[in-house]
């Protein structure tokens, strides 16, 4: 099977700091992959490199788009989104002062076209497009469980709802690969369970999911494969249970000696 995303010998330096060193792994289409590692391991940097916000120092990121493969390392973030990679952020980044529905509509931006003249003249094309944007935005809201809340201001929503809105906005870009950066952070157990259910439903719609997560219940509950990085280096990869019992992983999280004690 051709992997949807291939990360090949990826390096990223910030000045003298090597944030990522020789990271290599593949993401298969239709999987839910967990990316874990202690704080500062380079998980978010890896996300930023894939999303185009950071330019990798060396290495290749190869995306399978349709039946072509193309290298997206160093591409601009808006281009990467257009190619079907969407993301959420560790510290939620919504358009705080806009309504919930406008947040999702903005997610439709890269799949729509009208600009100035369409907006002023309200051409047939623009009207049809605007109607489609609105309809699909409401569908995405309903999909993440925020039905009927479109007119609220994003900033005024509860934390867990903001997380789900961010996912709805990412889904609105029609991604093939969805990258979630700590989606369960700050959620209570019930919200985490709902989130896991949502992630599975996203995958069932044919979208591959890559998530960074610290909440091991979520990682173990939803991920089919886990990649561990530590100090910017690939450490382990495999089924969740195997990774959980891997002495090297336990050592990375708890320090030398902990592996023996466990």
């Amino acid at each position: 099977m051709i992997p949807i995303l291939e990360i090949n010998a990826l390096y990223k330096n910030f000045g003298g700091l090597e944030a990522l060193k020789d990271i290599t792994f593949n993401i298969d289409r239709g999987d839910i992959i967990g990316l874990i590692g202690p704080n500062g391991a380079g998980k978010t940097t890896l996300f930023n490199c894939v999303a185009g916000i950071e330019k990798p120092t060396a290495g290749r990121i190869i995306l399978t788009h349709g039946d072509r493969t193309l290298s997206i390392g160093g591409k601009k973030p808006e281009a990467v989104t257009g190619l079907g990679i969407a993301r959420t952020f560790q510290n939620i980044r919504l358009f705080d002062n806009l309504t919930v529905i406008d947040n999702v509509k903005i997610g439709r931006h890269c799949r729509t076209r009208s600009v100035f003249f369409g907006a002023v003249i309200r051409s047939k094309f623009q009207q049809a497009e605007e109607k489609a944007i609105s309809e699909s935005a409401y569908q995405f809201l309903e999909f993440v469980g925020l039905k009927g809340r479109g007119q609220e201001i994003a900033r005024s929503m509860a934390y867990g709802d903001q997380r789900r809105l961010e996912i709805a906005r990412a889904l609105a870009t029609e991604p093939q690969l969805l990258m979630l950066d700590e989606p369960a952070a700050g959620m209570n157990p019930q919200e985490s369970r709902d989130l896991m259910d949502l992630i599975r439903r996203i995958r069932d719609n044919g979208i591959t999911v890559l998530l960074i997560e610290h909440d091991m219940k979520v990682v173990m509950g939803v991920c089919e494969r886990v990649v561990v990085i530590n100090h910017g280096e690939w450490l382990a990869e495999g089924l969740p249970q195997d990774v959980q019992n891997n002495p090297k992983v336990i050592e990375a999280y708890l320090g030398t000696g902990a592996a023996n004690a466990a």
């Binding site: 601009k76 808006e78 806009l98 406008d102 100035f116 002023v120 309200r122």
Partner: protein
């Protein structure tokens, strides 16, 4: 055609229709003099300018100090085309619009990569450049002598065997200005409620999130800058044909500042607020111009009064008289602590 259903009008719609009717009959009220009409036209002109400028700081969150440069470009485009080629004003409007947009793109494309204050400084430099150009390129603009004797606006139907009306006095300009304000407001509302407007609001709220939604920051900022400049130029083109005289010192930096004050005073990003800001500042400027000499002060002291108003606004109502949520939130964040710190590395391009 849809049926008119006057019973279903909301209070806001009634207010709007009332104001429009008032504006339409104003010249025929017994106590209105030509001078007062002149001031109202000036208010309308500044409404167009303020609405145009509002796109950049209000919709996109970028500080633009060089707006008057585009106003000047529009005015001289109109003035020179009339002076040398005798073009009709109806042809000049689209030409001025396009010329403004072209200069907006020429200035915006290389400089909109800059962020915040750096961008503001570049725009400030641009407006100074325009004044210097207009002053020194005497072969084109006659420099400090100014450009006198620009034709008035006329409706020429002689081509079709009809009559030719020349716009003499304030009255025809008054109605022309109303039409232009209405068109500007219409365009602003349409933009505000479209994919383009949403992209701008996204940029204003959070640039990193905006790119991750697939918005090309540079392209959309340049579009904003071009449209803003185009409206500035259209305002300038009207000014040229209305005043029938132009000189470079009409486009000095303080004009930019005055228009920016209107936006801040009325409420950045709010179409109604911006118009109210224009009404207040233009009328106050005229009142003070009359009042100050009576108190034995030079008329220029009115700029001190504007400064004082801005200080008081910043202290008591920083988001303007009719604030929108986004600006109010930014002002709150600025006062206490930035709630959402944007990463220093941001987006490199």
């Amino acid at each position: 055609m849809g049926k008119l259903e006057p019973r279903n009008l909301t209070r806001g719609a009634k207010l709007r229709i009332g104001l429009l009717i008032l504006a339409l009959i104003l010249p025929f009220l017994p106590f209105v003099t030509d001078y007062q009409l002149h001031i109202v036209i000036l208010i309308f002109l500044y409404m167009i300018l303020a609405l145009g400028l509002n796109i950049v700081p209000g919709f996109n969150g970028l500080l633009d100090l060089g707006y008057v440069g585009f106003y000047g470009i529009g005015a001289y485009t109109s003035g020179l085309l009339t002076y040398h080629f005798g073009l009709s004003y109806w042809v000049i409007i689209p030409l001025a619009f396009m010329n403004g947009a072209i200069w907006g793109i020429l200035l915006g494309a290389p400089t909109l990569r800059l962020t915040g204050d750096y961008f503001a400084i570049v725009t400030f430099g641009f407006s100074e450049l325009v004044v210097l150009f207009l002053t020194n390129e005497i072969w084109l603009t006659r420099g400090p002598l100014g450009l006198p004797g620009i034709d008035v606006v006329s409706i020429d139907l002689t081509l079709f065997g009809g009559p030719k009306w020349e716009f003499i006095g304030e009255l025809p300009y008054y109605y022309l200005a109303i039409v232009m304000v209405l068109i500007t407001v219409f365009v602003m509302y349409r933009i505000q409620d479209s994919r383009l407007g949403r992209a701008w609001f996204a940029i204003r709220d959070d640039e990193v999130a905006a790119v991750s939604c697939g918005i090309n920051l540079l392209a959309y900022k340049v579009i904003a800058f071009a449209i803003s400049a185009a409206f500035g130029a259209v305002g300038g083109s009207f000014f040229a044909r209305w005043m029938t005289f132009l000189s470079p010192d009409m486009f000095k930096f303080w004009e930019s500042f005055l228009i920016l004050c209107m936006i801040v005073l009325g409420g950045m990003g709010n179409i109604w607020g911006v118009m109210i800001g224009a009404v207040i500042l233009v009328s106050m400027s005229e009142i003070l111009r009359e009042l100050l000499p009576l108190l034995g002060l030079p008329a220029d002291v009115r700029f001190l009064a504007f400064g004082l108003i801005m200080v008081l606004m910043m202290r008591f109502r920083p988001a303007g008289m009719l604030p929108i949520a986004a600006v109010a939130a930014q002002m709150r964040a600025g006062r206490t602590k930035r709630r959402k710190t944007k990463p220093a590395m941001g987006i490199k391009k």
